[in-house]
Amino acid sequence: MRELSLNILDISMNSVKAGATEILIELIENETDLVFKIVDNGKGMTKEFQKTVTDPFTTSRKTRKVGLGLPFLKLAAEQTGGSLTISSKTKDESTDGSHGTEVVASFKKTSIDFTPLGDITSTIVTLVQGSPEIDFVYHHKVGETSIKLDTKELVEVLGDRSMLTAPEVLMWISESLNEQYDSIGYIKY
């Protein structure tokens, strides 16, 4: 994909489909590296499924035989000299009742094949708009500074979860993120 934010959207949609009620999207970035982590409390993947998930011919969809989100992400990360790791557990495999999936992709920003982050604000707005029932926590640490959005906090302020998809609220989320990025002079492209 042309922008990392599209990979983030794609992988987060897996979490939505896995029935997650909380999704954490965390980016940690310094001068040379960018790591993004997507953690959900969805149904998780069995050990068997996990082994095959970066194989482009594996998918959770029934309509086609190839699922390319994770294989593409792996390729994008490895092309820069980075890597992709996935850990997951289902309810059955869990000893403490917790379940879900964590996808961690690391990129070397210094590589010529590094794809820029792109329009991450639109990715976050799209996710909230599409799945207002899910608590999204977005946290992007850039060196010593950080950019944050927590929809659970927003719901507390708004008093009503359905307000999350109101145009003025989505607009606020978009402006808030963009302002935070502008205030640290972050270059997304």
């Binding site: 994909m1 190839v66 390319l68 390729l75």
Partner: protein, 109 residues
């Protein structure tokens, strides 16, 4: 033009030949796989420098006529095996993508 005619006329090396008589209609070139997936058409010849096994998935999904890998050295085994399994035509050449596309255009593809 069929895949087999293409091999002879353009002097291409065979990586995997699944259907030599397949008719090629039009072409596409690109290396950003998600982009190719959205734009390449059925029966196209797809010209790319990429060799990762993901190209087989993209070709299978879009039902392309054949892949031509340019500036090619040895391909990963995984890609070759996957292509055999999914009946995907893969050819290769030492030429770059520009030169390959120019030749294809010369054939009227």
């Amino acid at each position: 033009m069929t895949v087999s005619e293409l091999i002879t006329k353009a002097d291409l090396e065979i990586v995997n030949l699944a259907d030599a008589e397949r008719e090629i209609v039009g072409g596409y070139t690109g290396d950003l796989l998600s982009f190719v997936m959205g734009n390449v058409e059925t029966d196209n010849v797809w010209v790319t420098i990429m060799t990762n096994t993901n190209i087989v998935a993209v070709a299978s999904l879009a039902d392309v006529g054949c892949i031509v890998i340019t500036e090619a050295e040895e391909l990963p085994n995984e890609t070759v095996e996957s292509a055999k399994l999914r009946n995907i035509n893969i050819l290769k050449t030492k030429r770059n993508s520009y030169e390959m596309c120019a030749i294809l255009a010369g054939f009227g593809i």
